[in-house]
Amino acid sequence: MAAVREALLKRLRVNATSLSLLRNPKPSLNGLFALTFNAVHRRFSDDVMGSFLDKSEVTDRVVSVVKNFQKVDPSKGGVDVGVADFLGKMRVEQQECDLLDSIYDEYPKDSEDLHMHLISPILFPVAVFSALPELGSDEPLVTPNAHFQNDLGLDSLDTVEVVMALEEEFGFEIPDNEADKISTINHAVEFIASHPQAK
């Protein structure tokens, strides 16, 4: 049981940004949730090297980076803590645990399939749970039109940190003179969507 939980937690840590995508699952034909993960997307875009990313996808990803940035409190150990708490409280029956164990054993460690077929159905309710605190909270809304300073209250250091987080998310360096002009989510989206090196 502990091993399964530990495996799940390890998984969660690796892909914190995917959580936001889990909030919008699309049911597939056979009734299972088919979720798109960043890793899958990257695989597709690698095939078409040097192409531009779709703006709405960029917007989603930028919004999620900024949301995570606002939520992350390093003193508490990050976004994962809420989820870990939930898992801790999650009561898993012994036979369900055995089932999970056996499924887990079938897949190679850290494989994407494992991620998609095993973790995702479990993560979805978790994602909903962690999304709940947002409802009715005083936290500023991170929308595509949000202005870093005026709406989100970010100062110069925060903005530079967000730019750095965006660089990590999209895998390319944003030069300082361009970073200076990014003062809203839309600016970031425009810049990234028009940059062929963005992944």
């Binding site: 005026n150 100062d155 250091l157 300082d176």
Partner: protein
């Protein structure tokens, strides 16, 4: 410039702003407000009346009460501080020419000549740095006042100097970086600074030194007034050097020489530019404040002269406290005379 010497344009219930002696050259004034101490809605409304319609619009554009209050206090602080620092310059003769009636002439000798903070106009220089737009007037020579503001959620500060561009930055001492400090430094700071931070093993000390470096770098860029992109943080290095010069101290003056702060530009390595005075302070026990003043008077090669600094805690129209030399101001770096 509307010099309404003898009128009180704010409600008569409020005391006038006490004018302050203009900073002399090489003197820097640092004013700060703690927003949590300003709770009165009536007072906030008074501040709102000082703002231009455009500024009021900008304040309203901010989301949420906290951000609105912060923006409002920042503008109110700038306007009142500059108005007070400029006021004394307006001499009686000047006022007489402007005032038309005998009643006003007599009035001058009763009240201090003040500049109405509401009448100040501001503009941005070509790089976007805010500055005062003085009204061109035959009889009025505008004081060469420079200012710069900075704010966190818990402190708003304004620095004022004469004849020298100024940049300030304040950050909460407890502020934590969301990214890894070394990764961030490698991305944005100079190699020398990365090495300095990496050599600190205690993560808490490292975090504090990072914040101090950040504020000094921000203050420098803001003093130069050309924006972050014109002066990327990687292109210059902040260094600390222990000052070996003995100085003659006047009794009553307190000069702290923790260490000299110098800037080295990557474009011109080895040429340590000494034309900036720096000060790094811990203010109110809760914030680091960095002040950078450009000063052409300093000849290269000559040791840095101290920054003459006066620090005041204020709630405009309510109180001013000069906190220089008290526990509220702890000099950390730079040669500072309080």
């Amino acid at each position: 410039m509307n010099i309404r010497c003898c009128q009180r344009n704010f409600s008569s219930a409020l005391p006038p702003l006490v004018p302050i002696q203009l900073p002399s050259p090489r003197e820097t004034h640092f004013w700060y407000i703690l927003p949590d101490e300003v709770k009165s809605v009536a007072l906030l409304n008074r501040y709102s009346e000082l703002l231009s319609p455009c500024e009021r619009e900008n304040v309203n554009r901010m989301s949420g009460d906290q951000l609105k209050k912060r923006a409002l206090l920042a503008r109110a602080l700038v306007r009142t501080t500059i108005a007070r620092c400029s006021g004394v310059k307006c001499n009686g003769l000047l006022a007489m020419r402007k005032c038309l009636s005998a009643k006003h002439v007599f009035g001058i000798y009763q009240t201090n000549c003040e500049i109405n903070p509401r009448s100040l106009k501001f503009r941005k220089n070509i790089y976007g740095k805010p500055e005062v737009e003085w009204h061109k007037d035959d009889n009025f020579s505008p004081p060469p006042l420079h200012f710069n503001i900075s704010h966190t959620s818990s402190m708003i500060a304004c620095g004022v100097t004469i004849n020298a561009p100024i940049g300030i930055d304040v950050e909460e001492k407890q502020r934590k970086l969301k990214n890894n400090i070394i990764a961030f430094a490698q991305r944005y700071f100079s190699p020398y600074e990365v090495k300095l931070l990496t050599s600190i093993s205690d993560p808490e000390v490292r975090r504090q030194e990072f914040i101090k470096l950040w504020t000094l770098k921000e203050a420098y860029v803001k003093a130069l007034g050309k924006g972050f992109s014109a002066m990327p943080f990687k292109t210059f290095t902040i260094q600390f050097r222990t000052s070996t010069l003995r100085r003659f101290h006047l009794p009553g003056n307190s000069v702290s020489e923790a260490s000299e702060v110098i800037v080295e530009s990557s474009n011109d390595p080895g040429n340590l530019t000494n034309n900036c005075l720096f000060a790094l302070l811990e203010v109110a026990g809760s914030h680091y404040a960095a002040i950078c003043v450009e000063n052409d008077e300093i000849v290269r090669g000559e040791a840095n002269t101290p920054m003459k600094l006066t620090v005041r805690k204020t709630i405009p129209f309510v109180e001013d406290v000069c906190v220089s030399g008290t526990d509220a101001v702890l000099p950390l770096r730079g040669i500072i005379e309080q």
